[in-house]
């Protein structure tokens, strides 16, 4: 290293050692707003919670031997039922496909209009919204609440707090209750839960989900989004300058000032911004941020500040949309006198949409082509082949036949590829179909059997003949095959 350059020692920086390492929680009590986005949020809240709470009760006829619940996770038997679809454990890759789809849809939503998921659909947002509505219903709007802190009697305040927490706990309990209904026959389980005869694990899960719902939606709220959730961080990396976000149009709003002051300024011919600095947007925000500072991590983009501000603009007779879904780029363009751009179709969105179509298409195609039976085969390893006393050669295999129908079915088994093959099975029923052994597989079950293939034909040394086992439904005629090899010395 060259020591010639003289490094001047920097002055010791000053440390702000008094700065707090941890900050106290600032409780947020957002005001109620009215407007388009609030209505959309109410509608989505009703639809999503309605689906969640009521779906387990929807019936779906699958015939005998199968549950009649439209959506059911049957852990004991390892089955997942979704309307006409039945997923077996070995088909878990469908869940992978669903997760990939879900991720792509999130990316697309983000590319089009930012955190649509966070603002409108995320369970954390929806339940928090519901809990805040309950809070306002019992304790009143924030202003009323503040008044009460001073004026209301102690008894009334205790009574209100008790009412609020009771209602919260009831919603939370109902949430946990609905959760367990997805894992068992809903009407039966409801009855069992009320008569105290349900399995302990059901009560346990209800207790766990009651607790998490009550804590996360009642107490943690925006803390979950700001500190616990990884999605806001990922979003920041995914977004681009064309994505619509809840934006304060500072080109229009600044310089801000009180209503009277800006009226006076305007009358005097001095330009003045539309923002009257009433802070309604901050008061309406469920995460307590000031959107006028620009887009920020804590903003979940729920659009409620838009409604709050539009109401104010309406009152003061200025055009709505001071806060709106817009882009930072457009704000700048307007300042330069350029027309705003709205580019929804661009490489990013088209790519995401294309991928969604491809992945979705693959999933639909595989689901549609999925048969109602299956067979897999494993060759005996030890011994690979057996010489019998009459000199013939035999290979043994383990076959597993899958019957995905809810009726018992009989399958005829055949083998192809070995000259003069004799097929024998262990675990069949006495019946045969055109000389082929027949096995019976119970409804919605698998069945394992041993298949012995022998031949007295002369095979070449170290023979390894490709063979195909075919399994044919005796009544329906549906055939499935599985390949393997026939080994010789």
């Amino acid at each position: 290293m060259n020591m010639a350059t003289k490094v001047e020692r920097l002055e010791e920086p000053e440390y702000d050692d008094d700065a707090p390492l941890y900050e106290a929680r600032r409780k947020i009590y957002p005001i109620a707003v009215h407007g388009t986005f609030r209505r959309i949020k109410w509608a989505l809240l009703i639809v999503t919670l309605g689906i969640y709470y009521l779906l387990p009760f929807l019936r779906w006829d699958r015939g005998p031997n199968a549950p009649s619940q439209a959506v059911l996770v049957d852990l004991a038997n390892g089955r997942f039922y979704f309307f006409f679809i039945e997923i077996w454990p070995q088909e878990i890759y469908y869940v992978t496909g669903l997760l990939i789809l879900a991720a792509l849809v999130l990316f697309l939503m983000n590319a089009v209009a930012g955190r649509l998921w966070c603002g409108y659909l995320c369970p954390q947002t929806v339940w928090t919204d519901l809990f805040q509505a309950i809070e306002r219903m019992v304790e009143g709007d924030p202003r009323e609440r503040r008044e009460k802190l001073k004026t209301a009697s102690r008894t009334q305040r205790v009574f209100e707090a008790a009412a609020k927490h009771t209602l919260w706990l009831m919603v939370a309990w109902w949430t946990g209750g609905a959760w367990v209904l997805y894992f068992a026959d809903a009407p039966t389980l409801v009855w069992e839960l009320f008569t105290g005869t349900a399995p302990l694990v059901a009560y346990l899960w209800i207790a766990i989900l009651t607790f998490t719902t009550y804590v996360l939606a009642g107490h943690m709220r925006e803390q979950v989004c700001t500190y616990m959730c990884p999605w806001p961080r990922i979003q920041a990396a995914l977004t681009d300058e064309y994505a619509f976000n809840v934006t304060y149009r500072y080109d229009r709003g600044e310089p801000r000032g009180s209503f009277k002051k800006s009226e006076a300024l305007r009358a005097a011919g001095v330009p003045s911004g539309d923002c009257i600095d009433c802070k309604q947007c901050v008061a309406a925000c469920p995460t307590g941020v000031d959107i006028r500072l620009g887009s920020q991590l804590a903003c979940i983009q729920c659009g409620l500040c838009i409604d709050a501000c539009d109401t104010v603009m309406n009152k003061v007779g200025r055009p709505a949309g001071l806060i709106a879904y817009d882009t930072e780029m457009n704000v700048e363009r307007r300042q330069q006198g350029l027309a705003p751009v709205a580019k929804v179709f661009r490489a990013r969105t088209l790519l995401y949409a294309g991928l969604i179509v491809v992945v979705g298409g693959i999933m639909v195609a595989t689901l549609a082509m999925r048969g109602s039976e299956g067979v897999s085969v494993i060759h005996d390893r030890n011994p690979l082949f057996v010489r019998l006393s009459d000199g013939s050669l035999r290979n043994a295999y383990t076959l597993r036949i899958v019957n995905k129908q809810s009726l018992p079915r009989r399958f005829a088994i055949a083998v192809d590829g070995v000259p003069e093959a004799q097929l024998e099975v262990v675990g069949g029923i006495s019946e045969t179909e055109n000389g082929h052994p027949v096995v019976e597989v119970g409804p919605d079950q698998t069945y394992e059997l041993r298949a012995l293939v022998s031949t007295s034909a002369k095979l070449p040394a170290s023979a390894s003949l490709p063979v195909t086992f075919s399994v044919t439904d005796v009544i329906g005629g549906e055939t499935t095959t599985a390949p393997d090899h026939f080994k010789g010395p």
Binding site: P13, E14, D16, N382
Partner: protein
């Protein structure tokens, strides 16, 4: 510090800690206090856990925890659950005859599964995990049985063994014709060549077998047990010599060695060691390997 300068970052408007590296200053975005409390709660939890559960390794052992929890006990509970679950089927298996088990696909599946496990634990050391056997230990997949391959015969062999200490064990006696000077070496060689010819085994180069003499020796000494046609006798455990399946090897030297020194393989009696249901399951499993008669 008397004069406290407030460090505020111009771009973000966030105060900084004052820490600076090459001009990069650390913003102070304090964590929420509940985060801190979560840390404390975790520490408390860890301490409670140490006290309640086995945790600390000691010189010769470990702290066992006040709850007295042991992973061994947890397994015992699971095993007990398994036994109750199996109970119904085990009862059926116990009540059904061997033939009934083979006739019912359901019972057969259960018996074979149980049999496979028992085979792996008890029989695999000699017969191999797939029952392929090796020299001196028969392959149970083929259809060549010294003591019979029907369900009852297999069960009998399993229960009492072969040349075991059991009173009802199978006992066969292959004499040591050479060692005990019952036959001279040339006659033994001739007999060996003859029995190999019964299985159509290839004659090694340079050897001219005297089949006529061999046949003579065979009829005088071996046919009593192995039969005039050499097809063996399961009553005596005398193997079939015509089928190309040779327990001790089919090479000329191996066959000469068998005749010279005799053979007396041993299989233990499992009757006293395994319960009757397990023996049943093993019987069905071996029978269903493919060679059962």
């Amino acid at each position: 510090m008397a004069e406290h300068q407030k460090n505020v970052d111009a771009v973000t408007g966030v105060s900084t800690t004052g820490h600076e590296w090459d001009g990069i200053r650390e913003l102070n975005n304090p964590l929420p206090r509940w985060w801190l409390w979560t840390f404390y709660a975790c520490i408390v939890w860890a301490v409670v856990y140490w006290i309640a559960y086995p945790a600390w390794p000691l010189v010769s052992g470990y702290t066992s925890g006040v709850l007295g929890w042991k992973s061994r006990d947890a397994i015992e509970v699971q095993l007990a659950d398994l036994r109750t679950q199996r109970g119904a089927f085990a009862q059926k298996l116990q009540d059904a005859s061997l033939a009934e088990i083979e006739a019912s696909p359901e019972l057969l599946s259960f018996a074979r599964a149980q049999g496979r496990a028992a085979f792996g634990d008890n029989c695999a050391p000699c017969h191999g995990t797939g029952a392929a056997g090796s020299v001196g230990y028969p392959n149970l997949n083929d259809d060549d049985w010294m003591w019979g391959g029907s369900l009852e015969q297999i069960q009998q062999t399993l229960l009492h063994g072969i040349r075991s200490t059991d009173a009802d064990a199978h006992v066969g006696d292959m004499p040591a014709f050479g060692r005990d000077a019952m036959l001279p070496r040339p006659e033994i060689v001739a007999a060996a060549d003859y029995v190999r010819s019964l299985s159509n085994l290839p004659v090694p180069a340079g050897v001219t077998p005297d089949l006529a003499k061999g046949k003579e020796v065979f009829e005088a000494n071996c046919a009593a047990c192995h039969g005039a046609d050499g097809k063996g006798n399961i009553e005596l455990g005398a193997p079939n010599l015509t089928d190309g399946i040779w327990l001790y090897g089919s090479g000329r030297d191996a066959v000469i060695a068998s005749i010279t020194n005799g053979r007396a393989g041993i299989m233990p009696a499992w009757g006293g060691r395994l319960d009757p249901t397990t023996i049943k399951a093993l019987t069905v499993y071996v029978h269903a390997l493919g060679g059962g008669k």
